[in-house]
Assembly symmetry: C2
Homo-oligomer: 178 residues x 2
DNA sequence: CCTCCCCTTCTACATCTGTAGAAGACTCTA
DNA sequence: TAGAGTCTTCTACAGATGTAGAAGGGGAGG
């Protein structure tokens, strides 16, 4: 599917050069397609942005590992996976920032589902599950951001390694504690 | 100082329209200066970006409230302050994302100082202060991000209110617990 | 008063970008 | 095999953008 080729190239571009690098022609070049291809599939830039955001959302469905036997381990693995998929996660952050001034894009925020977190907090016996769920979500978001673009991106363990997993697991365990 | 006028306008622009909105002429218009002014002060776009990032860094020195008598309260107040200063914080996130592919910009990451967090964790008697400090930093980052652009931006309490402060304080208190 | 220097404003121009439509190639069905 | 409809590629063009240099103005020091 040519459309997926295009949106995938767009995701890489955004990750590597930011929203500013996302132009019809740049996508053409990145995807190795003849000039004009991107413009044909996404006539306006708005459409192009929505296209790549939709692709992101599509790929991030059901990525969250929730293993009842090893809750912290599963969540840690999920986060580590996002760290490994660096480009996709970076593109997601760019899109979230963009969604700040273009509310149509809120789609991507589907991920990091708060209801799920709230239910989890409830199951774990937190006093105020609503709030605990929000805080837990915030913590996960923060861990991810910190390790991907924040201070932890230079100093922290390399994603995908055992060390990274162990580090994340410890953090998640703490966050899960009532 | 004309230069500050320009960089401040640039910060607002980036917050409101993203990096893509940051052009010499747009800054001129935003700052109410005649066309060409920004270009005169920052000949290249790279210089313009570095200019506004430097301005951000300059303003964020010593903003972190560390009250020994009320640790959580002080930190919560700090975070709430960042939420209130929405534009500056949004611009900072945009810059951090940009720093991903332009390492010269790492300056801004001065904020959220890890050593400080590590020392704090040590003082609080965590087993592994290094790691606890990193996790604490991550949590703060996450809280901020979540409330500013993530899920919490639509549902959470309004920054600057007592409710917001109380919410943040509860979160911070939990994060501080050994 | 003149002169020099810096700050500011204006103008120019090559290049990039968004967007549209025409032209051509391919595919599937009848 | 012919035709219709779609997918793909090419070309055009107006407007925005980055960047440079020329022109203008005002103040400080002599």
């Amino acid at each position: 599917m040519r459309k997926d080729l295009i949106t995938d190239a767009a995701i890489d571009l955004v990750a590597e050069q930011g929203m500013r690098g996302l132009t019809h022609r740049a996508v053409d070049r990145r995807a190795g397609l003849p000039e004009g291809s991107t413009s044909a599939y996404f006539r306006t830039r708005k459409a192009l942005v929505e296209g790549f955001v939709a692709r992101l959302a599509e790929q991030e469905q059901r990525e969250i590992v929730l293993d009842p036997a090893d809750l912290a381990g599963g969540i840690a693995k999920t986060i580590d996976g996002w760290l490994v998929e660096r480009n996709r996660t970076l593109a997601r952050y760019a899109a979230m920032l963009e969604a700040t001034h273009h509310p149509e894009l809120r789609t991507i925020m589907v991920h990091s589902p708060r209801e799920q977190a709230t239910a989890l907090a409830e199951a774990l016996g937190h006093a105020d599950p609503e709030r605990a769920g929000a805080h837990f979500t915030a913590f996960i978001e923060g861990l991810l951001f910190y390790r991907l673009v924040g201070g932890g991106s230079t100093k922290g363990p390399t994603p995908g390694t055992e060390e990274s997993l162990a580090d994340l697991r410890a953090a998640v365990e703490k966050a899960l504690r009532p």
